[in-house]
Amino acid sequence: MIPRRIRAELAHRFAGGLALLVLVVAVAWVLARAFGVVGGTANVPLFIVVTLNGLTLAALYFIVASGFTLIFGLMRVVNMAHGSLYLLGGYIGLRLVEHRVNYWLALVLAALAIGVVGLVMQQVFLRWNQGQDLRQALITIAISVVLADQMIPTFGAAAVAIKAPDGLNSAVRFGLYDIRYPTFRLVVLGLAVLIGVSLWYGIQHTRFGMIIRAGVDDRAMTSALGVNVQAVLAVTFFVGALLAGLGGVLGGTMIALAPGQDASFLLSSLVVVIVGGMGSLAGALFGALALGLVAQLSGVYLPAGYTNFSILLTFALLVFVLAVRPIGLFGRR
């Protein structure tokens, strides 16, 4: 029904078609390798495990990035300290668990603690310079530097892992191919779904969520409508930071905690939001899935000898989205 937008449409469709083609080829390649059609013997169990790795990693990315996109979407604050908050949350959870606190309690406490840290950060450093995007980004960068540097002497430079709660620290057996997969990672997957659904429900069906959606669209207008924007911003930052801390404890159990993990999770949050689109929960989901799967699958399924180039595929994903749709797949101007 849209007449005459031929040139624009063609360009868009070409880019979209190219993206689709690349996706199809990539999927076909991976499946071919997995099922032994190309290059060597079939290894379906490996494929399943790697895919599960990708999904569970995506789950972790989603939890962390949803906090990032919430803060970015509403406040235009690129919270460069998000990775540091992740790591700090993990370390706090670690200390609590080491002191024999119940795992789930530790999880909640650590998440809340980071929520408070985030809230304090926002109230002290970011409340008075709203709208100055660059300045706020620089402030959060400075905070991330200080946090990162202070965590090293406090928690050490060695990689450590949080012990999963009893009953969840072994593996689940699938009937299929007799695969065993770490239970905890599946728990993280489940938690991500739970969190995603809760956030979605909160944003779509509550008054608070409506204010957030309005704020993402037009901050000035929302403020003009007399909504207590300051309170909304504060709560949003609290929740965003809380999610980072939550992710930190889960990630610390699932993977490990070490200096450098903050950079890693800042990167993943950035990529998820760039790919998925600013302020969009659906975008965060999509971005996380894309990133998690690309990262894991490329590590295994790239032609032999090239697997150490797997990071380039992540980059390719990023560049691709930027070329086709600069505002992100689910982004809105």
Partner: protein
């Protein structure tokens, strides 16, 4: 009366600046080898890298965190060519700068349609990805990096006698400074400044804004690449640790402390940073915390950095002197 006071001040200012420049020119003669090398060369080289950030921000309005990654590309290319392929250092440097500019053009082509904070995020993500690339790919030595890079004979051995390296870095810095100042007054420079201030107007006037941003990014990459080549020659090695997130932020810190809006700030910030970095270990282990706090203080109180403060001070003095009429 009024004119004399102000013009005396200007004279004093000019003499002071001249004096500083003379000192800068004679650092290898006036100071110890250690100082000339650690403070002198490092400040100049980091200053060049920071100048690429300040150029992009002050002239084009683009805040790029990819400059560290770009100088890493130049450094690694130089190292790889020189060490693994035995290429002549000057030729390796030339190729390295060329490769870096090409990478920047390709990257700029996709990134140039993003503005402001988006652009910042994209460049940061790319910088971290570049770090991972160099730390994972075996051809570049993974975590060890590449060692044994010798600078050209003309520049000498940096740790034995930094004189050659110092003057090489000094001449490069001066040329880059002059280049940017010249560019500002060319059609290209005007176009960039227009894009910085009113990109929508520029588009309506017929300018291709993404193309201009890409070209500017390439110029920034050129500057960063020179810094990278000098860096790898100075250190005789390059490893991923030189371009990790911490170093990326360090370079941004230098630019901000020096003054994001003034090109001179690049070297001022680099000097301050290098001095703190060299002498702070006597007092504390936690250099990054210290520099992070300085960074935070500057951003909170005086976003113009050292150069900004100097400029404000100068104007204040001139106003006070001009105000003292009979």
């Amino acid at each position: 009366m009024k004119l004399t006071r102000v013009s005396s001040w200007l004279l004093v200012k000019r003499v002071a600046i001249a004096g500083i420049l003379v000192v800068v020119l004679l650092v290898p003669q006036l100071f110890s080898t250690f100082f000339a090398s650690s403070i002198g060369v490092q400040s100049l080289v980091l200053g060049i890298a920071a100048a690429s950030i300040i150029f992009l921000n002050a002239v084009v309005g683009m805040v790029s965190l990819a400059q560290t990654a770009l100088y890493g590309v130049a450094a690694y290319t130089t190292a790889k060519l020189a060490v693994d392929l035995g290429v002549d250092p000057w030729l390796a440097a030339l190729v390295a700068v060329g490769v870096t500019v090409v990478v920047a053009l390709l990257f700029g082509a996709v990134a140039s349609r993003s503005e402001g904070i988006y652009f910042l995020m994209i460049t940061l993500a790319s910088a971290v990805i570049t770090y991972y690339f160099f730390s994972q790919v075996t051809a570049f030595g993974s975590h060890e990096g590449i060692n044994g890079v010798t600078p050209p004979a003309l520049l000498g051995k940096p740790f034995v006698d930094p004189t050659g390296m110092y003057y090489g870095a000094l001449i490069s810095s001066v040329l880059i400074y002059l280049l940017v100042r010249y560019l500002r007054r060319t059609p290209f420079g005007y176009a960039l400044q227009g894009v910085r201030d009113e990109s929508i107007r520029m588009r309506a006037l017929g300018f291709n804004v993404p193309l201009l941003r890409t070209a500017a990014f390439a110029v920034g990459a050129f500057i960063a690449a020179i810094g990278g080549v000098l860096l790898v020659w100075y250190n005789s090695s390059i490893s991923p640790g030189t371009i990790d997130l911490t170093r990326t932020i360090d370079l941004l810190t230098i630019a901000v402390i020096g003054g994001l809006g003034r090109l001179e700030g690049a070297w001022l910030g680099a000097l301050l940073f290098t001095v703190i970095q060299t002498y702070s270990p006597r007092y504390t282990d936690r250099f990054e915390t210290l520099i992070g706090l300085v960074f935070l203080a500057v951003v909170l109180t005086s976003p113009g950095g050292i150069a900004g403060i100097a400029g404000s001070l100068d104007r204040w003095v001139q106003r006070r002197l001009a105000g003292r009429t009979a």
